[in-house]
Every structure is written in structure tokens, then in C-alpha cells.
Symmetry: C2
């Protein structure tokens, strides 16, 4: 395809760290954030990897993202910890918070870490996966300060796409169960893809000004009103709304991340299966459960039933070999970011 | 309406305890289970209160529900506990487990309790509400050993309706945020209601033998194949499937409740907001969040945006005054249960 280039993951990592370093971020923090972003691109979640760099640049320019921030532990009591990101990029505080929750889970059987005063942390699933790779079960949640979700019966955007990620280990540490989902029917990026293709939206993706279904992708892109998972009341949209509100309470109300301060909050929960039963029994039952799902008679024999995380795993395998596709418009946006930051531009074809 | 009677909640409680006592259940256990069931009926969740008594009678008759079982603490380590229900009714072990998780949260900031070897525990939300009434944030999950949910791409029932309940305290202890949702688009009871009314189902509720939408309520009632929340792949059914699998892992795989043993598992998580921030700040931010939701411009001014738990709260207020409606067919089923159990029948008109 002529409208994209393919970039090896290590070059993408260098490009991102180069930009963050130009803002004054420490080498360690820049490397951490770049690793989260590049591994997200490897897993095929293009919306949350380098595609976010122009947004982060905008937040930096507006003074909302403080690259030199050092996350501070505000409370640390037994299995629970609260970290203030101090307006830093979300990835750095979240990596530290998930590490703390994992250590606490190994000690206490369960660990929880809240993060307040943060920014966008990339893909929710990355942090859950981090725990699963060490044999732990984990939940990763974040609220989103930009409102998209219109509650059932309402007409105005009230909550972010507030994602839920869950990961659980299997006998293959490279291949955990990994669920990572917005609590809206679709993420905003999907509306944009439909708009670019000039296609209508299915009813249940977006909401019009009267609270009904918006099927015009151009209008939906403009209004940014997304339906909660379920799409309509009849198909359970009150559940998607309820889940988004749950994420908001756990990430923001519990941690003190106030939307009025433009502060994002995150929530990490980790469980050590060994605290509940012998690991071998856990692993055997997990294998049985997943085997039962994969063995479900499929509609199409060529498209078997998947486990959450399968598509991401396949993408990682492919993109590690073939490189990461970056569309030309994004390449140009990164060039602009580099120029504005005084950073070297490394993605030239 | 001639096809129902209205029963005061204390009479319903006496009827249920009478039946449980006739099976040999201790007065304390019978009272606990009856309280959970009656309060569920008060909250309007008719499918999970006394409506379950005939099913429990069947499980008792088949030897799957052991009324004299005493829950045993299998593991107890710091903030984490695992309880074996020993085949008892789920309500008794779950009440004990949630109590333990609450006490641990008050001590450690977070508490978790798994239950294995259990049976149906009634409404997931009841246990979450129990914690919210003491100012705690809670999650209550259960797997369901009867399969209903057909995974995306599949054609066979693979998981239960695996509900997620979440509760958070507000300044009014009588009125917590309370989400209680199946991870299927609808619970099976809604299919039955459509069948009785001879109405078609919306696409997205049930699945036919080829994995497509089943809109014939009679066929859907027969086949018991329900769609995951989202309804179709296009509207996010992979998310409902993923959430149901998450509930299965936390309730069954983590606790050792094997479906092959017909054992149900539950999972209770409790957080004390005071471990993260000052309670007054938490309460103020919660009030601001809920006020923002309620203030969302509604489609219909007569139907404002709700907070999860509002319908249940209104039902409790109404039914405490007016009594609990019990349809005549259920009254007759309870009469049959009493006759089979040698218990007094107290619901005579």
C-alpha cells in the first residue's frame, strides 16, 4: 500500500524516546513510555501506540502533560497503594503502579494501586498483560477526561470510553487471556474509519442530538456522541453505561482524579492465584476452560471461536517479523511533532 | 390483577424459612438465605427471590444442595480468604464471604473472598449492596453452571449468564450506586416473558443453531442460546463474551469450582475508600459525579437519566408499603414445594 510505511519496532522506539527526551523527560521514563506504546502498536492496537504521539505533544504544549514529573507514592498501606502522577504521562506512573500492585499481590495474595493526577496511559490491556506474564490475574481500568458516552435516556456526552482490561495467565506466558474493551459499543476511532470511507454507521454505535441512533458517520464524527455498549436500551445499553460509571468511580472518585482539574485516574488490581489454590490446579482448569471455548462448534470452520487476546497475539507475531505499518498521514504528523520539539525525525522512508 | 397475590415481606420471609427449616437447615442459615431472597423480591428482581425456591427444591431433591452444610474457611491469608460452601445454598456461604471481605477491607484497605463448591446465590447485587451500606465499594460476581451464552463465532452454549454487580456508597446509605447485570444481552427470564406474550425477540437477544439471531421467542426459550452483551459482533458481542469469560475465571478457575462437579463459584471484592483518600472528599466527588449524570439533558423530561440502582430503590420503597406481588403460578409452585417438603404453606389468599 502506498499510503503507509513499515517500521521496525526498535526504530519506532527510538523515534518516540527521541521526542520525549526533547521535552526533558528522563531517559528511563522515556524508555518506559515508548515501550508501552511500541508494544501496543505491535499488538495491532494502532489507536493507542505512536498514533497518540501528536495528542501527547498537544497536551505538552498546553502545559497539561509535565514530562519531568516524578510519580509520588501518596499512600502505601498493606496491599493498597495510591500514586500521584503529578501531571506526568500516564504510562510512567501506571507502570510503577502496576509493578507495585504485582509486588503486593505476591506478598498479600491481592494488590491494588490507584493513580491520580495522571494523563492518558495508552492501552489499558498493556498493564494487565504485564501482570499475566508473571503468572498473575489482573484488571486495569482508566477513566478518560474527554466525554464521549451518552447515558441511557440522555442526550449529552457524560463519560469517557472508560475501558476495562482483564488478563489471566495460561501455561504459555506469551499468550495470556487478554480482554481490552471500551465500555462504549465502539471506540471513536471506528467512527473515524467509517467517516473516511464515507460509510453509514450501524445503529447502536453513535447517538444523535435527540438521544436516538446516529447512522451518519460524518455527523457522528463531528458530535462525538457514542452509545454505551449494548447500543440501545432494548439491547442493554444501560449495562454499558453502568460499567462506564463503575470505571469512573474506581479510577476517579476513589483516587481523587477530578475532571475539573483535567486529571485522569487509573485503577490496577492484581490477584495471585496461588493465594487461592495450587498453581497446577489453576493452570489445569484454565486449560480446560479455554479448550472448551476453542472447541465450541464454529459457524465457519475456518473461523474458530477465539479467546480474548488471540488477535493481539497474532499481530505481535506478524509485526515482530514484518514491522509496524504507519500510515503516511501519521508519518507526517510525527514529522511535525519532531519539528516542534526539536527532535530528530527518524521515520524518513 | 387476578393472577397474582400481594404478600407482606415478613410473611414471605416466614414462608421461605419454613421450607428451609423443613429440609433441616439451621434457623440461622435459613433466616440468612430468606433475607437475601426477600430483599431481592423487594427490590423488584422477581427472578432471583422466592421465584428461585422451586429450583432450590429441585436441587435439594437431587442431592446437589446440602441444607445442613456449614461453610468452611479453606484459606485465610491477610486480605484474601477462600470459603468452601460444601454444597450448601449459595446465600449462606456468600453472606459469610462478603462479611469477611468487608472486615478485611476495613483492616487492609482491600479485601477479597472467593467461594467454591457452592450453589446459586440469588442476586449478585445483594452482596455488593451489603458492603455499600457500610460505606464500602464492592464487586460481586458469580458463575452459573447452566450454560446459556454462545460465544462469538460459535453455535453452542458455553458459559452461564455470569453476572457482574458493583456497588458504591453515596451520602444516603439507603441509596447506593448499584449495578447488577448479566453479561448476556438479557437474562433468560426475559425470553420467557416474550414467549408467554407470544412476541418476537429483538435481534441480539438469542442465537439460533447457525450462530445467527434467533427472533422466535418459542424457539429461543427451547434452545436456551443467549447472545453475549452487545448482541452481534458488529455491536460488540465479543465484549460481552469476554466479560463472561472474566467472571468464569474469577469465580470458578480461581476458586476451584469445577463445572464437572456442578460446583458454582463466587467472587467478592471490597475496597475501603478511606484507604485512598479522605471520606468527605470521596463523598463530595461522588455527589458531583452522580449530580452530573442526573443533570444530563434527557430525551424525555419526564424520564430523567438514572443512576444504576434507582429502579431497585423505587421498588423497595413501593413494595415495603404495598407488599410483594407473587404471580399465581408461583404461589402454586410454592404450595407444591411445601407439600413435598412437609412445610406449612403460608401464602393462602
Amino acid at each position: 500500500m502506498p499510503d503507509m510505511i513499515t517500521v521496525p519496532s526498535d526504530l519506532l522506539h527510538r523515534q518516540i524516546t527521541e521526542v520525549f527526551a526533547s521535552w526533558g523527560m528522563s531517559p528511563e521514563h522515556a524508555a518506559t513510555a515508548a515501550t508501552v506504546m511500541v508494544e501496543t502498536d505491535l499488538s495491532g492496537v494502532d489507536s493507542h501506540g505512536i498514533g497518540m504521539l501528536p495528542t501527547y505533544q498537544k497536551l505538552f504544549a498546553e502545559g497539561r502533560l509535565e514530562p519531568k514529573a516524578v510519580p509520588a507514592v501518596v499512600r502505601d498501606h498493606g496491599p493498597a497503594v495510591l500514586i500521584d502522577a503529578n501531571k506526568g504521562i500516564g504510562h510512567v506512573a501506571s507502570h510503577q503502579a502496576m509493578r507495585a500492585a504485582m509486588d503486593k499481590a505476591k506478598q498479600h495474595g491481592i494488590g491494588v494501586a490507584g493513580v491520580t493526577g495522571s494523563n492518558h496511559y495508552g492501552a489499558a490491556g498493556w498493564y494487565a498483560r504485564m501482570a499475566a506474564e508473571e503468572g498473575l490475574v489482573a484488571i486495569s481500568l482508566t477513566n478518560v477526561v474527554n466525554p464521549f458516552l451518552v447515558p441511557v435516556r440522555g442526550t449529552e456526552r457524560a463519560l469517557g470510553t472508560n475501558p476495562i482490561a482483564f488478563a489471566a495467565p495460561t501455561t504459555d506466558p506469551e499468550r495470556p487471556v487478554l480482554l481490552d474493551m471500551a465500555t462504549t459499543t465502539v471506540a471513536y476511532g471506528k467512527v473515524n474509519i467509517a467517516r473516511r470511507a464515507d460509510k453509514p454507521l450501524p445503529a447502536g454505535w453513535a447517538i444523535n442530538g435527540e438521544g436516538g441512533a446516529e447512522t451518519d458517520s460524518h455527523k457522528a464524527f463531528e458530535s462525538r456522541r457514542l452509545a454505551p455498549l449494548g447500543g440501545t436500551r432494548e439491547l442493554g445499553a444501560h449495562k454499558g453505561y453502568g460499567l462506564a460509571l463503575m470505571v469512573e468511580i474506581l479510577c476517579a472518585t476513589l483516587t481523587g482524579a477530578r475532571i475539573s482539574d483535567l486529571a485522569t485516574g487509573h485503577f490496577f488490581l492484581v490477584l495471585d492465584p496461588s493465594a487461592f489454590r495450587d498453581r497446577a490446579d489453576f493452570e489445569a482448569d484454565m486449560a480446560e476452560l479455554l479448550g472448551r471455548m476453542r472447541g465450541n462448534a464454529p459457524v465457519d470452520p475456518a473461523a474458530p471461536v477465539l479467546i480474548p487476546g488471540d488477535p493481539e497475539h497474532e499481530s505481535v507475531t506478524r509485526r515482530r517479523q514484518e514491522g509496524i505499518p504507519v500510515v503516511s498521514t501519521l508519518v507526517e504528523e510525527v514529522r511535525t511533532v519532531c519539528a516542534a520539539s526539536g527532535a530528530s525525525f527518524l521515520l524518513a522512508g
